[in-house]
């Protein structure tokens, strides 16, 4: 309780932080990763980088929208069930507001030239943000040659085949267990 960070994870703060993240995520769950790292890992230190990556890995294999699953994981990690609910509601609230506004008053919003140019710029920026985040993740996730091999195989499978990501994620987990167990045996 002496930890000063303890005070930052009130339910309201969780809700507002995830609201902010939902507001500026353009694209799917992975587009949220750069801002999530900034807010959750660096600013509030609610979870370490590896933990966030683990949440993404598990979310990939669970039903539901990845961004929401990751939000619930982080919310639950800090404040149990109410935290999970606050984070989930936070990340969906801006969608409800913005989409309702567009559906109600802005006909042809998506065809507006200004909107299209702005989005084209944003999508390039999202690429750069994800690339930068990936470089940070790389150090935390690919630690040796077998890890690098898993990374290569998964990238190739996901890029060139239409294998379900669940299958890929489950296979990677099994590989991890087999490799580490084989190493322990070898060390004995």
């Amino acid at each position: 309780m002496s930890d000063p960070k303890q005070k930052t994870d009130t339910l309201l703060r969780l809700y507002l932080t995830f609201f902010k993240m939902g507001m500026v995520t353009f694209g799917g769950g992975y587009a949220m990763l750069p801002i999530l790292e900034r807010e959750v890992v660096e600013k509030y230190q609610w979870a370490e980088k590896e933990k966030v990556l683990d949440y993404y890995a598990v979310s990939q294999g669970l039903p539901g929208i990845i961004a929401v699953n990751v939000s619930v994981f982080i919310g639950y990690h800090r404040r149990k069930v109410p935290g999970g609910v606050a984070a989930a509601l936070g990340v969906v609230s801006p969608c409800i507001l913005i989409i309702t506004l567009i559906a109600a008053c802005l006909q042809n919003f998506q065809n507006n030239p200004y909107v299209r140019h702005a989005l084209a710029g944003i999508s390039v920026c999202v690429c750069a943000l994800i690339a930068s985040t990936l470089m940070g993740l790389w150090k935390k996730s690919v630690k040796d040659w077998t890890g690098f091999l898993i990374f290569l195989v998964v990238s190739a499978l996901s890029l060139f085949t239409s294998l379900s990501p669940i299958l890929i994620v489950v296979a990677a987990a099994v590989c991890g267990i087999l490799i580490q167990e084989a190493r322990r045996r070898g060390a004995k």
Binding site: G22, M23, F26, G27, G28, G29, P34, L53, D54, Y56, A57, Q60, P63, G64, I65, A67, V68, V72, F73, Y76, H77, V91, V92, C95, I99, T100, A103, A104, Q110, H117, A118, L119, A120, G121, I122, V124, C125, C127, A128, L129, I130, A131, S132, L134, M135, L137, S141, G147, F151, V154, S155, P165, A172, A173, V174, C175, G176, I177, I179, Q180
Partner: protein, 187 residues
């Protein structure tokens, strides 16, 4: 009772759509046919709007359909429906994950999962690159690569990447700058 139906239909989508927002599309196509709430052509509009607004795509689509079927309460109810399974399932999984924290097998599983998910993120990033740097969606002929590649965007990407690594400002800052640059240079 349309709200109850909306809630139920989107609850099912949240429960069965595995793999993120785009995985909900086949379900929305099915829902279009089974409920008659919206025509199939509506889905293309919906994807376009979901992609041009902030927020996870899966959520945007739920809100959009819900709003068009049942107004503001419809939008709220459909969104809550799609989110509820996540809340329940992730809470249960979280409980187990924290319980097995430090467990040898779980740690070993994550040893394999971390590089795997890094690969998945890389590929997700490449998909965004494909749609944002090239004038065509499917690259049919590699010899014509230089014709379809948007060089201004590639240059902008380089500058952005450098700025992100160098200045470490908040991602929101870069997103706002990129929107302005997109409008000014007519990307």
């Amino acid at each position: 009772m349309i709200y109850l139906q909306l809630f139920w239909e989107f609850l099912k989508i949240g429960l069965f759509a595995v793999g993120g927002g785009m995985a909900t599309i086949p379900f929305l196509e099915h829902l279009s046919q089974s409920s008659g709430w919206y025509p199939l052509s509506f889905i293309t509009d919906m994807i376009a709007i979901s992609e041009s607004t902030p927020g996870p795509i899966g959520i945007n689509m739920a809100t959009y359909v819900g709003y068009n079927v049942g107004g503001l309460p419809g939008g709220v109810i459909a969104t809550l429906g799609v989110v509820l399974p996540s809340m329940v399932i992730v809470t249960i999984v979280s409980r187990y994950l924290e319980k097995f924290n430090g467990n040898r097998l779980v740690d070993s599983a994550f040893y394999g999962l971390r590089p795997a998910v890094t690969g998945l993120i890389l590929v997700a990033g490449l998909t965004v690159v494909q749609t944002s740097f090239f004038h065509v969606y499917e690259l049919a002929d590699f010899a014509r690569l230089t014709e379809v590649l948007d060089w201004r965007k590639l240059l902008f990407f380089g500058i952005m990447f450098f700025a992100i690594r160098k200045f470490n400002k908040h991602p929101i800052f870069y997103i706002a700058v990129a929107a302005v640059i997109g409008i000014v240079f007519q990307f």
